[in-house]
């Protein structure tokens, strides 16, 4: 009996070990591109060209890589941060677009989410179902209607063409709504009985208690806006209006080192925002999984 138990334990341990190995390998594979970025950013142009010769110069063999550069240098950072004013143009474009979108979502999305969560009105379910449906539609499906609408509004080619559709995105409304639904309905009823107005209830109860959902929505929206690629490519004509996410393709293979440096810099705000809203993000994702 004891021998059988021991055998089971050994089997379980071997299974765990195998699962851990597979998971670690998979994680390493996923993390590998991320680990390549800092190495490439500190590599000299000569070292990069030598390692990537099969790609850059069409030489025979396979491209190689080093996690730690053999000849570390700050040349790529100098090229990007000092010698490329165009980088800053796109950086501030991204900052501006993201700030405008997040502000717009707070202005329009927050009241919408509160309305869905706090009020019962005719057609609420149908309207919410429409929101969910819009949220599920991929961008490619919405591309043509959005294009036609933006043309008719004379917004095509203008940064507003990217900002406006994102402001009215339904996904943050959904996340914030889920956050507001965590507030106990009795608290709201009690406040109403005490004579509090709807604005007071929203400001004094809704916002503090739904803060987690709001922050989760903002973090997710930030990450989405910071990395926008398809919308600017589709709706912006002038390079000067592009966000930073379109700068990397612009650099090309000839400036691979600079592209790695840009990647590092682009990651910094995203990491900061993620660190600021990590708890809210986890809670927000949990809310989304809760059945109504």
């Amino acid at each position: 009996m004891r021998e059988t138990n021991n055998r089971r334990k050994r089997k379980r341990r071997a299974g765990s070990l195998l699962a851990a190995t597979v998971c670690i390998l998979a994680a390493a594979l996923v993390c590998l591109p991320l680990l390549m970025i800092p190495g490439g950013a500190f590599m000299s142009d000569m070292e990069l060209r030598r390692l990537l010769a099969p790609i850059l110069a069409g030489q025979e063999g396979y491209a190689g890589w080093r996690l730690l550069p053999f000849y570390p240098t700050l040349d790529c950072f100098y090229n990007v941060l000092v010698a490329s004013p165009d980088f800053y143009r796109l950086f501030w474009n991204s900052v501006g677009m993201t700030a405008a979108i997040l502000a717009g979502q707070l202005l329009f999305g927050l009241p919408s989410a509160w309305a869905f969560a706090a009020f019962r009105f005719r057609g609420r379910e149908a309207l919410f179902a429409l929101y969910v449906m819009l949220m599920l539609l991929p961008f490619q499906v919405m591309l043509l209607p959005q294009y036609l609408m933006l043309r008719s509004l004379h917004l095509y080619g203008n940064p507003g063409a990217v900002i406006l559709p994102a402001v009215f995105s339904t996904f943050p409304v959904f996340v914030m709504y889920r956050g507001f639904t965590q507030i106990d309905g009795e608290i709201l009823e009690a406040a109403r009985l005490e004579g509090a107005g709807e604005w007071q209830i929203f400001r004094r109860i809704g916002l503090p208690l739904g803060e987690t959902g709001i922050r989760a929505a903002l973090v997710l929206s930030f990450l989405e806006c910071w990395n926008l690629v398809e919308q600017p490519m589709a709706f912006l004509e002038e390079q000067r209006d592009w966000p930073l996410s379109l700068y990397l393709p612009q650099l090309g293979l000839a400036r691979a080192g600079d592209a790695f440096a840009v990647s590092v810099i682009v990651l910094i705000p995203a990491v900061c925002i993620f660190a600021l809203g990590q708890d809210a993000l986890e809670a927000g994702i949990a809310y989304m999984g809760v059945k109504e």
């Binding site: 010698a83 490329s84 004013p85 002038e238 390079q239 000067r240």
Partner: protein, 462 residues
């Protein structure tokens, strides 16, 4: 109760820690954004600082005016030179440039003692040379005589030899005829016949050999006489050379003649106590000697008749020559005076790689002048596109310009310099006429830049 309070405290601590952690990230994000803001300005400043600043202008329709100036000298068309006294010591110069002189005016004096000493040296050299010539002549005459005698002796010897050979040949022929009459009888023995035939063969061979000897002797005579004749000619040439001064060597002939001429001139000068006078009235136009100097080849005094015409001479390069032709009008300005005259080019003569332009001046046009500056001005046909010369660049024989264009990129709309190849029609020092089918009159052409330009580079207006 206490446990609840502990839990509450723990929760508050965690919340505080969480807030502090977030604050740190907010500060980090703020610092990053501030750094990016500062670097935006820094990067922009560096970008603008490195950007070439340019001047530009539109091309205009105009002609190209080509001008050049050349310094030259004013000379008398028929000036007299007093020269040929090289080697003498100048005692005193009595005239200056521009001075009017009369016939017989004292021009300069040479040191008489030095003159006599130099003359004595020259005469001694001449005497020695004359003796050498006489000795050479007698030696050459003796050689000629000896060559003639050798020729006569050789001729007599050869004739005698040939005569002897002919006599021997005649004897052999007679022997052969006699032998032919002594033919044996038909029934004679074979030995007799054989002996007779052998004798005949011997005689035939000897006759042939003798005839060859005679031919050979005649040939030798001819050759020997030729050589003897050449010897006579050589001897006669030597004699003639000695008589014609050539014995001193071909290159020395000029020196001998020069020495003899000098002796002649210096003797005349010594008779005049070393004084040199003007042969006619006129104006001194050049004095190339001074007191105390020993005269060299270029030590001359030149003076011209006051009524003779003057010529202006200058040297121009091959490029400048393309702008001036015989019969063209040119302006000549004389330094130090407001005098300027327009004259006609008389001739253009190539000298080495350059050209000498001669302009005959009207009488009185440049009286008292020795130098002048000739100005030539030529205006080309009208061209549609004329730009400042400094706007035109050249590389490997291909001419190009930089045209300003507005280009919209990541940084917005910027001025960029586009390189455009053009054809060069004509140019002077300041302007250039260009041509190309794509040129337009409203093109902004870069005329000047504080940094080197390259195709597509962003630039700023100055």
């Amino acid at each position: 109760m206490a446990r609840m309070a502990g839990h509450r405290q723990e929760g508050r601590d965690r919340e505080m820690e969480n807030r502090n952690g977030k604050k740190k990230w907010v500060v980090r994000l703020g610092v990053f954004m501030l750094a990016m803001l500062i670097m935006t300005f820094v990067s922009r400043i560096i970008y603008v600082d490195n950007m070439p600043r340019v001047h530009w202008s539109y091309p205009k329709a105009a002609s190209i005016r080509k001008e050049f100036s050349a310094e030259g000298t004013v000379e008398a068309a028929d000036a007299r030179s007093i020269a040929g006294l090289e080697g003498l010591l100048v005692d005193r110069v009595e005239v200056a440039v521009g001075q009017q002189i009369e016939e017989g005016t004292l021009l300069y004096e040479v040191d008489v003692e030095d003159l006599e000493e130099q003359l004595g040296i020259l005469k001694e050299e001449e005497r020695i040379w004359q003796e050498q010539v006489r000795a050479e002549k007698s030696r050459a005459a003796a050689e000629t005589k000896r060559a003639r005698e050798d020729y006569d002796d050789t001729l007599a010897e050869l004739d005698r030899n040939i005569a002897e050979q002919n006599a021997l040949l005649e004897d052999l022929k007679e022997d052969l005829e006699l032998h032919l009459f002594r033919i044996p009888e038909e029934d004679a023995a074979d030995e007799v016949w054989i002996a007779w035939a052998d004798e005949r063969t011997r005689l035939d061979r000897e006759i042939e050999a003798k005839e060859r000897d005679i031919e050979e002797a005649a040939y030798q005579k001819e050759e020997t006489l030729k050589q003897a004749g050449r010897d006579i000619e050589d001897a006669q040439s030597g004699q003639q050379a000695a008589e014609g001064l050539y014995s001193a060597g071909y290159s020395a002939v000029g020196q001998i003649q020069e020495r003899q001429r000098k002796i002649e001139v210096w003797e005349a000068l010594a008779e005049a106590d070393g004084r040199v006078y003007a042969a006619q009235a006129g104006t001194v136009i050049e004095v190339m000697l001074r007191s105390g100097m020993r005269m060299e080849e270029d030590a001359v005094i030149r003076y011209a008749d006051a009524q003779s015409s003057l010529v202006y001479r200058t040297v121009v390069t091959q490029e400048q020559k393309a702008l001036v032709h015989t019969g063209d009008s040119v302006r000549i300005r004389f330094p130090g005076s407001s005098q300027e005259t327009t004259e006609t080019v008389d001739s253009i003569v190539q000298e080495g790689g350059d050209y000498v332009v001669t302009v005959r001046l009207e009488p009185g046009a440049a009286q008292g002048q020795t130098e002048g500056v000739m100005s030539v001005s030529v205006t080309s046909q009208a061209y549609d596109f004329v730009i400042p010369r400094k706007a035109l660049h050249s590389e490997g024989g291909i001419c190009y310009i930089y045209v300003l264009e507005e280009k919209t990129g990541i940084l917005g709309t910027e001025l960029t310099a586009r390189r455009q190849t053009v054809g060069l029609e004509e140019q002077n020092e300041d302007m250039a006429a260009i041509s190309d089918s794509t040129l337009q009159s409203d093109m902004m052409i870069v005329t000047d830049s504080d940094k080197e330009l390259e195709n597509g580079i962003a630039v700023m207006e100055w």
